[in-house]
């Protein structure tokens, strides 16, 4: 028994969980083509959730700030990107791949910029007074969420907004009975890139350390000569920009968006962060992929259970590992 755990640990430990789940699902599903379709779709879904969750995980895990307002950024990103895409609809319809890509690039960039600016504003005005106080964080960010949703409503109106998508991301690749949506491949690749970039920044620089230290004892980090306030703003801006990016990608996936989009994704996003374990980007990715896969498998095998599957997954994981799959901080 002990040997087995050790062998498993050497092979990657909890990282193997999604593989194990996929293997079990393969047996249960029995139809290989369906299994491939579901797995690929689930992975991509996981990546999109990861995009939305990574910012929250960063802010929640490293800075110990529970930002319920995160979902406002997700919505904001979605609407900004959708507006830019609508505005550039001409480019999207064009046959030129270049114009297609440019339009997409501009939309994502606009979402990122809005996220950075919004994050700066949010940190300085909303979060600054409530560091270290979870309860007031929950409350003040909920207040901010209400305001932000209302502002979005005021600017974009409440009618659902259709999102045009670049031509080259439409449709699916069909291999035999397997279908793989092109948009999902794109989302998967973008999510992967974001993950690698975050991983390197946090693990190859002192920034990750500083943030963790700052959360524990802000005064002491300052007494060591670091402007923790500026660092926190930076992290927060990054977190918000990731949220808007996630929102933008989600808008492209949903193709029909309404201001409550962010709020509707929030519970899943929180579940992912918690499953993953506080403060670890690796954990968040793992959690997101688990949620993506399990959602699809359960939806196929036991549609009745689809809704509860996330909750059950979370509770099971918390019972097994009370601090999540890969907590960075004990």
């Amino acid at each position: 028994m002990k040997n087995l755990t050790q062998i498993l640990a050497r092979m990657g430990g909890v990282n193997l969980l999604p593989v194990a789940v996929a293997a079990v699902a393969f047996v249960l599903i029995g139809v290989p083509s369906s299994w491939v379709t579901l797995t690929v779709a689930g992975l991509a879904m996981g990546m999109m959730i990861f995009l939305m969750a990574s910012g929250l995980s960063l802010v929640f895990g490293l800075m110990d700030v529970l930002n319920f307002g995160h979902s406002a950024f997700v919505s904001l990103g979605a609407f900004v990107a959708a507006s830019v895409l609508t505005w550039l609809a001409g480019w999207l319809g064009a046959d030129s791949i270049f114009l297609n890509v440019m339009a997409l690039f501009l939309a994502l960039t606009a979402a990122l910029i809005v996220g950075l600016a919004g994050g700066w504003f949010f940190e300085t005005v909303i979060i600054r007074p409530v560091y270290k106080d979870h309860l007031r964080q929950i409350l003040i960010t909920m207040g901010a969420l209400i305001v932000a949703e209302q502002l979005i409503l005021a600017v974009w109106g409440g009618t659902p907004m259709a999102v045009p998508r670049p031509q080259f991301l439409e449709g699916a690749i069909i291999l035999g009975d397997v279908s793989i949506e092109i948009y999902r491949i794109f989302a998967f690749l973008l999510g992967l890139a974001v993950y690698v970039a975050l991983y390197l920044t946090l693990n190859r620089t002192r920034i990750g350390l500083l943030i963790r230290a700052g959360v524990e004892n802000r005064e002491m980090v300052e007494a060591l000569g670091f402007r923790i306030d500026r660092l926190f703003i930076g992290v927060f801006m990054l977190g918000s920009a990731l949220a808007t990016l996630g929102g933008a990608m989600w808008a492209g996936y949903e193709t029909l968006i309404s201001p409550s989009l962010g709020a509707e994704m929030m519970i899943v996003v929180f579940i992912v962060v918690i499953i993953g374990g506080l403060g670890s980007i690796e954990g968040t990715l793992l959690g997101a992929i688990m949620v993506g896969l399990v959602g699809n498998y359960v939806g196929f095998l036991m549609p009745k259970m689809a809704l509860a599957s996330n909750m059950i997954l979370m509770m099971a994981i918390l019972m097994w590992r009370p601090s999540g799959l890969r907590p960075a901080v004990k």
Binding site: A144, Q150, L151, I271, P322
Partner: protein
């Protein structure tokens, strides 16, 4: 010199007593339909918020499942009244069933998960609450699903019921107020809410209340001086659940309608949170103040803004921002400012102010 005797505390207490008096005489003071609805809602929410404050303010337990217990009580009464017909037996059965379910669920959640970290506990309660919400919507034969259930309240509370009649057999009026079933229903709500509130008030002032605060402050030390933390937590979680469940039963009887949006939804949870914070966590006075302010805002801020927009209609931009449909925006802003400037809530901050140095 203690908190209890500061001038600020005096102000808070006088305010709360005034509110209490206003609620007691509400049917006579404000003789319109809306005011009575508002007053009844305030009564119920005072209980709900106070019971939530037991958890969050006194013991430091963050739970997102409080509306779930509220819902158990409400659905208990609603289903019983629907199935058994209007009557006190149905109220009893429903109320008790609601409490029983609440108690069982609270004990289960408490024993299983009050040991884990606070934030995880919060997420677990959120998960359980959303599963219940889904169940309520899927078991629609029982619960009426999304649309909820309408039913009749006991005979005594029907608007048509005459409590006292004059010579002509018409319903008697006192200071212009009809002595009818509606009035009886209001006083039922008022009296039961008051009783529950007083019970909780005694609870937090008792030695148990101090222990709860100690657990909030420093769990490990409370354990070290001999308090069984998990038992206390589970106990207070159950008490809060029972109080919420009863509040749900009362509200269900008053409303004669029970549905997910009024009794279970996450937005009520947010309302409760807002009320606790606006009033001030860790003081029962605060629960009253918070509930009153929020309910008033929900019902009257709109009108107020309409008036303001009217008044400023020849100024630029302002009327746009004061558009009554954007009242939530202002509520949000006010809320942020409150958390910002009154970190201890209104009651907490005022009480703090008056403390002599």
């Amino acid at each position: 010199m203690t908190e209890q005797n500061s001038t600020g505390a005096l102000i808070v207490k006088i305010t709360v007593l005034t509110i209490g008096a206003a609620l007691l005489f509400a049917p006579f003071l404000f003789q319109d339909v809306r005011s009575l609805e508002v007053a009844a809602r305030i009564c119920v929410f005072v209980v709900l918020v106070a019971s939530y404050d037991l958890l969050i303010g006194y013991t430091g337990i963050v739970s997102f499942a409080h509306t779930m217990f509220f819902g158990f009580g409400a659905y208990g009464a609603a289903i019983a009244l629907k199935q058994m017909g209007p009557g006190w037996d149905a109220v009893m059965v429903g109320g008790l069933a609601g409490m029983l379910v609440s108690l069982v669920v609270a004990v289960a959640i408490g024993l299983l998960s009050l040991r884990v970290k606070a934030i995880f506990f919060a997420m677990i309660t959120l998960a359980v609450a959303s599963v219940v919400l889904v169940l309520a919507s899927q078991l629609s034969d029982f619960t009426g699903g999304e649309d909820g259930i309408t039913y009749r309240a006991p005979q005594l509370f029907k608007t048509a019921t005459k409590l006292a009649v004059d010579e002509d057999g018409k319903v008697l009026r006192l200071f212009g107020v009809k002595l009818n079933g509606k009035l009886a229903a209001y006083y039922f709500v008022f009296a039961t809410s008051l009783a529950l509130f007083v019970l909780m008030f005694r609870l937090v002032g008792s030695p148990l209340g101090t222990v709860l605060k100690a657990i909030r402050e420093n769990e490990a030390r409370a354990e070290a001086i001999g308090y069984r933390v998990v038992s206390y937590r589970t106990f207070v979680f159950c008490i809060a659940a029972l109080a919420a469940s009863l509040a749900g039963t009362i509200y269900a009887i008053w409303l004669k309608y029970t549905g997910p949006d009024t009794m279970l939804s996450f937005s009520i949870m947010i309302d409760i949170l807002l009320m606790v914070v606006i009033g001030g966590m860790g003081t029962m006075w605060g629960a009253v103040i918070g509930a009153v302010l929020m309910v008033l805002a929900q019902y009257y801020l709109r009108d107020l803004m309409g008036a303001a927009a009217e008044a400023t209609s020849n100024l630029p931009i302002l009327p746009e921002l004061l558009n009554p449909d954007r009242w939530l925006l202002w509520l949000g802003i006010i809320f942020i400012l409150l958390v910002y400037f009154f970190p201890r809530g209104i009651a907490g901050t005022i009480m703090q102010k008056g403390i002599a140095k």
